[in-house]
Structure formats: C-alpha cells, structure tokens
Symmetry: C2
Subunit: 216 residues, 2 copies
Amino acid sequence: MDITTEKLATLFPGMESGLKEAILSEGHVKNVKEGELLVSSGQYIKSAMLVIDGLVKVSREDEDGKEFLMYYLEPGSACALSLLCAARSEKSAISAKAVSDVTIITVPFVLTETWQTRYRTWHEFVVATYRKRFEELLITLDSVAFKSMDERLVFYLKRQMKVSGKLLAISHQEIANDLSTAREVVSRLLKKLEQSGAIVLSRNHIEIINLDKIFD
Amino acid sequence: MDITTEKLATLFPGMESGLKEAILSEGHVKNVKEGELLVSSGQYIKSAMLVIDGLVKVSREDEDGKEFLMYYLEPGSACALSLLCAARSEKSAISAKAVSDVTIITVPFVLTETWQTRYRTWHEFVVATYRKRFEELLITLDSVAFKSMDERLVFYLKRQMKVSGKLLAISHQEIANDLSTAREVVSRLLKKLEQSGAIVLSRNHIEIINLDKIFD
DNA sequence: TTGCCAGAGTGATCATTGTCACTGAAGTCG
DNA sequence: CGACTTCAGTGACAATGATCACTCTGGCAA
C-alpha cells in the first residue's frame, strides 16, 4: 500500500509535518491479513504500531487460554500496549488480531524515544493514546464489574455495530470468547434478544434491528 | 507539613532538580484526613496530584452507587486520572479516598502542560505513571474477568497486605464494597479461609497468617 | 448423493453468588 | 448499667451462569 503525507494528515490531524515525514521515512509499512495476529500473547514488543487501515482487536488472555476482548483499534489509533510495552507480565498477556485486512506502520522504540523531545505533537499523541485506551479499558471494566451477562451482550453488540455495521459476521462461539463465557449462554441470550425483536439470527451472522429499546 | 527537596528526591528519584524546585514553588501542599475524599465521583479535576505521604484508594463507581476498588496510590505516585482527566464520563466515575492521613501536592494543569516541554523528566514521569496505572488496571480486570470470588478475595487480601501489613483493620462490608459483592459472601469466604488456617478473624480486623498455600 | 462437520438450539443439572431474614456479640454513650 | 448501634454469622432460597449431553441443520467435499 502506498501511504502519502495526505493520508497521514487525515488519520493523525494534530501532527506537525516534520513528524509525519519522519513516520513515513523511518517507519515500516506492514500488511497483515484478516485473522492473523499482529501481537501474540507473551511476546516482546519493540516497536510502536500505528493503525493505517483495517480493524484490530486487542484481547487479554489468561494462563489457560481463556480470552477477553479489551477494545478495538481503528485507523488513526495506536496500540497503547506497544507504547507501554507491558511485556514482562507474568500470567496474563495481550494479543492483537487483524479483524479485517490491516495496514500498520511500525516504528522502533529507539526512534520514538527521540521523537518525544524532538516533536511536541508526538508527545501529545502518546498521551492522548494512553488516555483513550485507559478510558476504554475503564468502560470494559465497568461492564464486567457491574453488569450481568445479558447487559454485557447488548453492550457488546452495540460496540460491534459501531465497528462493523448492522450485519455482524460472527459466530456465537466467538462472542462467547470475547465475553469470556460459554457458547450456550450466548446462544440462549441471543435467542431472547431475537424474541424481543432487537436482532435477527441466521447461520453465521446476526442482523441488528434495534438495541436501544433494551435497557436504559 | 514541611516538604524539602530531599524528600522529593527520595520520592521521585528520576526528576531533574529544576523540576523538583518547580514542584515546591508552584505546587500547593494539601493535607487530607483519613477517610476523607480527595476526589469525589463526577467531579472536574483541574490539577495534577502527587502523593507525598499516606495511602490513597482509587475506586470506580457506577450510577447506582456500587463501587469497586481499582488500585492504591502510595507516596511517590501520581493520580493518573488527574493526569488524564477523564472528566466528561457519562455514567460511571472515579473517587479517591484517603485511607490514612494523606499529604499531597497539587499542581494546576495549566502549569504541568508547560512542564511537558520544559522538563524532560516530567514527561518521563507522566508516561511512567500512565504505564503503571494501566498495568494495575489490567491486573484488576484479569481478576474480575477470570477469577471466582474466593480467588479474588485472596488476591484482595494479598494486595491489602502489601499496602498495610499483616493486620488489616477493615470490615467485611468494606471488603464487599471493594470487590463489588455482598457482605454475606465475604463473611462466608473469610470463614472458609480461617478454617483453612490462612487467616485469623476478629471483630474489625483480620490477621493474615499465610495466603500462599491458597491457590498456586 | 451421501456422509461429515461446524455452528446452533435446548433441556437437565450443578455450583456460585446474591438476597432476605434473622440472631448474636461487641463496643459506646447517655 | 442499660439502650443502641454497628459488625458478624448463618440458614434458606432465588437467580445467574457453567457444564454436560444431546439433537438438529445447512453447507461442503468426496
């Protein structure tokens, strides 16, 4: 893929032009096919990653393989983890997976560290990224801590709708993984939502009609 | 309380001396009594807060008053929230409470923003703080997402022990709040821990004997 | 076409947690 | 010393979610 300064300007509006040029000249463009992992659990990260195209799903995994959706990264966002590099974690770890075909730019940390002082807007970008991820993580935490499964499912479907529209090509099993529960539970709750008219179920996909009537 | 540059140097080892002087001259020292709130839920934050003395408990609250322990702030740490200022949040919010008598230094954001460029070590401190809180939040999230109540309780007691020693002056109700569950549940599980010899229960306090035998 | 398989639906049952309704027990303050 | 209040213990029961054991269905491949 060909990435221009204009493209970067649209994705990262606040950045000064010198920084954008540096990203283009120093960064490595990388394409990742749908379904592949950008970061697998337990791996060391030594580059910052900027999402240019596609959708990235960031999950947490525990020691025995259970996983858990944290948030999605859309074009114009960076992987905070790559920035914070929580690498030496003991038990649980993080994985990033391409939901669609994805294009990213990677920049070694050695370089981004020098950017911190050289480019004011890089620093701003890093702090904004932290803030954004922190907030998303808090929202995720809220839903786990305070909500029951049916509410969490509705919340999940709303989030899915935001990133991929009203027609979701996703299996019950996958939803169950993201919510860290069992497929049967998801099936039953989806059935209830269908009966209430909020969604329509078909094999391998779910059509969202209206989730707003459900709760709040 | 009298705060010297030496005191700051011990608490914030990495900081350049100019920054430490700036903190002393520009910051406001504030004492908060045990049990009082530094930040109450839903409030706007317009200053950074550096913890000098005492222990601060940071919790999340949802719309109907249920709360939830996020992490503790010890001397030498900053409130990331004050740095990220997630103020405009809709439903849930954050509160910070003094567990013991606390001394903090507050610095208006207007000032800290200029520090970002003026003092390299301030920027480093901010990023390190983000990273630290993010990791702690992830660990909290793990325990909620993957663990059952008895495991979470043990995890909680271990964390308490780290911040306040083997003798915990805390009621079952308070533990229940922190874990976002019911007092009865906590009572029952504590009883089980006592029977297994891991702790000793008394009125208004819990003595920790050995939590290591319990789970891994 | 037939057979196979992954995804989905469902009932039965169990374990965990939440809720209710109490009883005691230990301060504490007039 | 009562009278009150707060904290803790406990049994009974409800509700939620996890697990097991199936069946059913549509699509794909041999």
